[in-house]
Subunit: 305 residues, 2 copies
Amino acid sequence: MRIAIAFAVGLALASTACQSPGTQHAIPAAPSGNTLTPAEVIAASMPEEWRTLDPENTLYMDFPNGRVIIELAPQFAPKHVANVKALSREGFFVNGGVTRVQDNFVTQWAQAADPARPPKTGVEKLNAEFTLSRNAPVPFDILPDPDTFAPEVGFSNGFYAARDKDKVWLAHCYGMVGAGRDSDENSGGGTELYTIIGQSPRALDRQLTVLGKVVQGMEILAAFPRGTGDAGFYKTPGEYQRYSDIKVAADVPEVQRTNLETMRTDSASFQTLVNSRRWRKDDFYKQPVGRINLCNVTVPVRVKQ
Amino acid sequence: MRIAIAFAVGLALASTACQSPGTQHAIPAAPSGNTLTPAEVIAASMPEEWRTLDPENTLYMDFPNGRVIIELAPQFAPKHVANVKALSREGFFVNGGVTRVQDNFVTQWAQAADPARPPKTGVEKLNAEFTLSRNAPVPFDILPDPDTFAPEVGFSNGFYAARDKDKVWLAHCYGMVGAGRDSDENSGGGTELYTIIGQSPRALDRQLTVLGKVVQGMEILAAFPRGTGDAGFYKTPGEYQRYSDIKVAADVPEVQRTNLETMRTDSASFQTLVNSRRWRKDDFYKQPVGRINLCNVTVPVRVKQ
């Protein structure tokens, strides 16, 4: 058996080696026998273990080949979320475009008009919303597995998150959505947005404002041709991948909405799901690993039942 | 300042907490001032810090929109590498196709003929080559940063690798190439190959045979339309993304070759590169992180100078 039980502790700066954070949690034991599939966990879940997406905090970005849906995180980036909604409501994003696709990094989109139309009720720039105080009233459902970048990782209302003794923040996992900025940390605002399409670049954590997560349509955003300009920008507007608009779901007639619900990350079924993946064992995966990385966890999303 | 100096140690099972592996290495200190860019490190590197790719262990897969180049890892998967080369040389892959693209997971390719042409000098199935003994004569250039999945991670001749007290193996980072198999661990062989196109699924480590790495053309393999069948398989052969052949570079006339070299992962310049990314600090990245994940390291590859 190649099951590595004796995982070494992470390496730390000499001065802090072997300090245990007070919140240390144990990794749950392996389930017996073959692990459940996500479909099996979902099928056995209770209605109250799901949370309906709030149309006021959901965005639709409609491409010719399908709808991308983004759940916003007003608890972590209230000003950016409010601004993106204001921009949407003033028509800022009408006939917008994906302007940048850098392989193994980000897909980024903007108004893409030339010349750019300035915001009216929205603004171009906001102060950064990189972190919250650790004491902020946001949930934090701990994932006890070791992480390269942060002392603690987990989920906050379904969003990938991390924290240390002082701060809590959203983590740049696959599909998370952030606000592009210039060199000035306070130069973002939501007029340009990006999502992660490769190995999660967690070094961006606490350096850009994360304001949401793609809950449908990553297969669209991740498959656009990579830009051949610097940093993956398309060289010409003709290459932009056009979307019709970015709309707040609440502003869309009910008949045109996509009503989704997401599994609550504080639910027993989610814990079962994570542990079933952590210790995955089935006809194909014969060697349970016993660890899972934050960014390898997929939070289930489905059409509202 | 949001620089988190006091990273906690990784969480470990209670019984093994704070055991230090004998090979523990310290994370190098932050460079002073702004960090070098990869281009700057490459420009300052010495010729002997690069290794020319061996045409006998390099594959070309030519698509209508460009060439994918794979470096093979015969030290880790000698039988699979020999078999893929035998399959190539008997024409097994002529007019092949990408048959599966599962978002945030893998792009997979095969012969894609219907009916399938059986191998002649190559074979369908080989015994698994998941791991080597830790004592195997393969280099291991340690990356001292904490990892979720393995006690030690690093690079072996430029390939992402990991090890524990008993074994050493190649790690499923973005761009690594493995041999698809059925449920039987000894049912792969190289007639179907895959590469990682999303968050690295390290739980596959030691469960599939990894035999190489894409060193050019990930922007092609990662941008194909996602398959809409189960597990991302294309539903119809008409959707297959066709390549003309998979050729061993040594079998291609020299004038048609793409001669590449890769930075040696045992070189001083590579250590400088990694540490510059670990502590990245420049006009945009103002908060040095002090950690890097194995799969976030890009090993430089360039046209041979």
